[in-house]
């Protein structure tokens, strides 16, 4: 099969695209690779956009390239930036670009990512309105934050909270508005939300939970936001962080099946779409996760994993299944990691102290289904969480008392569990 593949087109030039083409070359594919991206930048890592890039002074912006500068030419990859694919013809196996060029392919990978979900009345073009998805967005927001005194952030998900955290370190007064009654409500238990909310408050940022926007004014010098409880917030700028819309217009026009509930491009475990020879990877995809239904996993890890899998599948090469879901966020001086997927029926146990007064908190919460761990949350305990990974992967039952006993290291505890499960 792989002998028949002589040209591969990658649409999108983000994390997944870069990892996919690197995998193709590493797997020995010598044919033509074309990558088309609508941004002006070569593939870059998005996680730092809300953190190090946002906080940086312009001259010292950290390098966030996924691959070193000469990677694309040296690996003979035709990287075409600042261009869109205007149509994709699955029958003819060719794409037409916005500059009129036509690119044929034997295999096509859609790594189109997504765009920030917008709110009505908050057009991204307005000078005081900000969304954060791209490097250019981050630079624009950085410039605005540097001269701002007060910022209003809509959305207390991961991105909204990361921006709030960074804005606080820049000395900006921050108000965060969230419609749900707690932060990260869909992915963490209430006790964790409470802990994080205390952490947010301690930074000086103000949280407005369970609030919707009843009125919004954009005077020339800023923004006025009225909330359902009657509060009026004034800011020099407003940042909207209310989620991601997968970029699927091209996929839809080409007849690819999209998920009815989350809008992502339906792919199987090998990242194959519903149309022959077209694959998809990263934020734009939706995939079945046993026990969780169809999910769009918007994570750095998922982009990397699906890229690797899709690249191998396009060449007909076997590769390892996707790694256990893992996610991190850095905010309010904490590294927070999640392993596995949340579910509604989990009961959480804790190792370490969740006291809101700890300056350097360190704890792990483990979500159990009966005695089997399904979901873990770690605060400043990434090494310990890593030790637990095999326990979650292998669905090994644990005892709450043993897990919480900090006189035994997490590595020793996990090792003992794995050893006794294997015997």
């Amino acid at each position: 099969m792989s002998s028949a593949v002589s040209s591969i087109l990658v649409i999108g030039a983000g994390q997944a695209a870069a990892v996919a083409v690197a995998t193709l070359r590493d797997q020995g594919f010598e044919g033509r690779i074309t990558v088309v991206g609508d941004e002006a930048h070569a593939p870059y890592e998005r996680p730092p956009l809300s953190k190090a890039v946002l906080a940086a002074v312009e001259a010292e912006e950290p390098s966030i390239s996924v691959k070193e500068e000469n990677f694309f030419p040296t690996r003979n990859i035709d990287l075409r930036l600042g261009l869109e694919v205007v149509s994709l013809d699955p029958a003819a196996q060719q794409a037409t670009l916005s500059d009129g060029a036509v690119v044929d392919y034997d295999r096509c990978l859609l790594a189109t990512g997504g765009t920030a979900r917008t709110l009505p009345g908050l057009a991204p073009e307005a000078p005081q309105v900000h969304y954060l998805r791209t490097l250019d967005d981050a630079r624009r927001l950085r410039n605005a934050l540097r001269s701002a005194r007060r910022a209003v952030i809509i959305g207390a998900g991961f991105l909204g909270l990361e921006i709030a955290s960074t804005a606080r370190t820049m000395g900006v007064e921050v108000s965060v508005v969230e419609t749900a009654d707690r932060v990260l409500g869909r992915v963490v238990p209430e006790t964790f939300s409470n802990w994080l909310q205390a952490r947010v408050a301690a930074s000086g940022a103000r949280l407005y939970l369970g609030q919707s926007i009843t009125d919004l004014q954009l005077p020339a010098d800023g923004v006025h936001v009225s909330l359902s409880d009657g509060t009026t917030l004034e800011g020099d700028l407003i940042v909207v962080a209310v989620g991601l819309s997968p970029t699927t217009a091209l996929a839809k026009a080409a007849g690819l099946e999209l998920n009815a509930s989350n809008g992502g491009i339906e792919v199987d475990a090998l990242c194959r779409s519903s149309v022959a020879n077209i694959f998809a990877a990263g934020d734009c995809t939706s995939r079945q996760h046993p026990g969780h239904g169809s999910l769009r996993l918007e994570s750095w890890q998922n982009a990397n994993e699906q890229a690797r899998i899709a690249a191998c599948a396009m060449l007909g090469i076997d590769t390892a299944a996707a790694a256990f879901p893992w996610f991190w966020t850095d905010q309010f001086d904490c590294n927070i990691q999640m392993l596995g997927l949340p579910a509604p029926d989990l009961e959480y146990i804790v190792r370490g102290s969740m006291s809101p007064d700890d300056t350097n908190p360190k704890f792990i919460m483990l979500g159990l289904q009966g005695t089997v761990p399904r979901h873990a949350l770690a605060v400043n305990a990434g090494g310990d969480l890593r030790a637990l990974r095999a326990v979650l992967e292998k669905e090994i039952a644990i005892d709450a008392a043993g897990f919480s006993d900090t006189s035994i290291t997490m590595k020793a505890y996990s090792k003992a569990l794995l050893t006794s499960a294997a015997s």
């Binding site: 990892v19 890592e45 996680p47 190090a52 996924v66 070193e68 750095w300 990397n304 893992w326 991190w328 850095d330 590294n335 305990a381 990434g382 090494g383 890593r386 030790a387 290291t409 590595k411 020793a412 090792k415």
Partner: protein, 102 residues
């Protein structure tokens, strides 16, 4: 001539564990795995984090923050998000002493 400096004692670091060490203002990590000792820089090249708080598997140490991996023998950055290698130091044991060459 190489100067050897004692940094720890045999038995001080359990198998698959690491120890943070400060020496001449340098942050180092002593790692113990598969019966051998390794010394590397302790700070991840991707973002500030101590590798001694990380995880050892298959001859690599993994950063606790974002799971970048470094080969303990060569210091090579084995996976994203790290792209820059860490420094490794020559290590030997003499009796019960673990020594390194800076």
């Amino acid at each position: 001539m190489t100067t050897w400096i004692k940094i720890a004692q045999v038995g001080q670091v359990d198998e698959d564990e690491s120890l943070a060490i400060e020496l001449d203002g340098k942050q180092l990590a002593l790692h113990h795995t598969e019966g051998e000792y390794f010394v590397t820089d302790n700070v991840c090249t991707h973002q500030y984090a101590l590798l001694s708080d990380g995880y050892i598997e298959d001859g690599c140490v993994e950063c606790p923050l974002h799971q970048a991996q470094f080969d303990l023998r060569t210091g090579k950055a084995m996976c994203a998000p790290a792209t820059e290698d860490i420094k490794v130091y020559e290590v030997k044991t003499e009796g019960d002493d673990i020594l390194i060459a800076l």
